[in-house]
Symmetry: C2
Subunit: 240 residues, 2 copies
DNA sequence: CGCCGTTGTATCGCCATGGACATAACGATG
DNA sequence: CATCGTTATGTCCATGGCGATACAACGGCG
């Protein structure tokens, strides 16, 4: 039994919420130039569609310019407001698509310190500074794989010295060293799995160019860094 | 007229989708120990709630253990499967909450090169290597503020040399220099707005500790870096 | 063995959603 | 002025979601 994480995007303006169906409706009107043709194309009833357009305009303002009469009988065109709405919806959706599809690595831990939204979480692989939401002590820290920065661990300077230096001049608060456990390279993007020890692994997505530039290969040592604001702690229930 | 970006999280298992209402229902059953009490607490009808539980079990499997009879008349308890569902839903939601609340900076541009999912986008502030979805040339590049790494620009080495060196040993493909335009510091987290020139700005969220460590103040020069896999290009309609 | 409070199940009715259909208004064109 | 295809609006009806109610089944307990 597989569980699919899903979501429905929508835009709320005042007291109406525009969902995917509304967006498809507006797009169809834009495509066909009339509400009748749009309703026909969508397999919906004209009456319902027209009512919805009126409802939207009541709440949002002028969304369409509707003409009736004339040689062609009239027609309906979208206003810039409507096009802007379509753009915003599209962008909202693709943004969520992007972040929702991205894989994440999860580390169990306990919150040992807290300052405002920020906290320090004790995990098997060390302490992670992350965003901690409410007042929970038992949490899971989730790190999106597109937020993890890899850097060569075998540079000229090595060990704690290099680490100190790097953290001192960037805003990367979390830094771990690990060995490359697996590389899954596609055309332009490669997924790299790091073994951090203690049975914990960290997933990263980097470009193939970076993969080659860092000369990564299975078993190699690398440093993985990520910002505290990219790590999010999620409360976990105490029971099993 | 403000537009609120919103979304409804849900879990899809087979042919049923569990939405927030279902989750609240299960949680109420867990709280009160019986479906009657849960329906009462939620202000819903018992019949409807009971039907929903049956429907869920038809699709998901044993979600509750329902006993009838006995001194107390019986009761309903959640199975570990149900608790696991609740956890998954909660985690899914907080994950989306986290990334959806995060602000993002947007740069208009055109795709000038493409390799698989990856592409190079020409923007007013320079070229950005980003994930480009479909075959569009006119795009907007969106960079989440929690994915931007700041580093001191006024280090010992300066200019192109330092830039080359940094990019060579990390997986950060995009690097820009800018001046701090605004700092909005909260308890533990600060929002930093960079001016990249050409009327473009880049927003970043960093910890207050990093803010102090980098000695950032308005007008200071900093280097902002982000991974190509953290930048997403979104197609934009050609018309206005 | 009856009591009790719960779970199971069926049925009715209300109401919102939405399609099907009819009718009017509109305005350029012939 | 009639035509024509569209918009605008109202009415009817089917469907589904959901509350309300009723009744049976259950099983420990007094």
């Amino acid at each position: 039994m597989t569980v699919e994480k899903d979501y429905q995007t929508e835009l709320t303006i005042g007291d109406v919420t525009i969902d995917r169906q509304d967006v498809e409706m507006l797009a169809a009107i834009d495509d066909h130039g009339s509400m009748h043709a749009a309703a026909d194309a969508l397999g919906r009833s004209y009456a319902r569609l027209q009512r919805r357009v009126v409802a939207l305009e009541d709440a949002v303002g002028a969304v369409t310019e509707r003409r009736r009469g004339g040689a062609d009988g009239g027609g309906t065109e979208l206003t810039p407001v409507a096009r802007d709405l379509l753009r915003q919806f599209e962008r909202h959706q693709t943004e969520l698509d992007g972040v929702a599809r991205a894989t994440a690595s999860v580390f169990p831990g306990t919150v040992v310190d807290r300052t405002g939204e920020l906290g320090t979480v004790e995990t098997p692989v060390g302490r992670i500074v992350a965003l901690v939401p409410a007042d929970d002590s038992s949490v899971q820290v989730s790190v999106r794989s597109d937020a993890v920065v890899l850097s060569a661990s075998s540079g000229s300077a090595d060990g704690a010295g290099a680490k100190e230096q790097t953290t001192a001049q960037t805003s990367l608060r979390n830094q771990f060293t690990g060995t490359v456990a697996a590389i899954d390279a596609a055309d332009a993007i490669a997924s790299v799995t790091l073994d951090l020890g203690e049975g914990q692994s960290l997933q990263t997505v980097i470009t193939r160019t970076s993969l080659e530039r860092l000369a990564l290969e299975s078993g190699a040592d690398v440093q993985a860094s990520f910002k505290a604001t990219a790590a999010r702690a999620i409360p976990v229930a105490e029971d099993g």
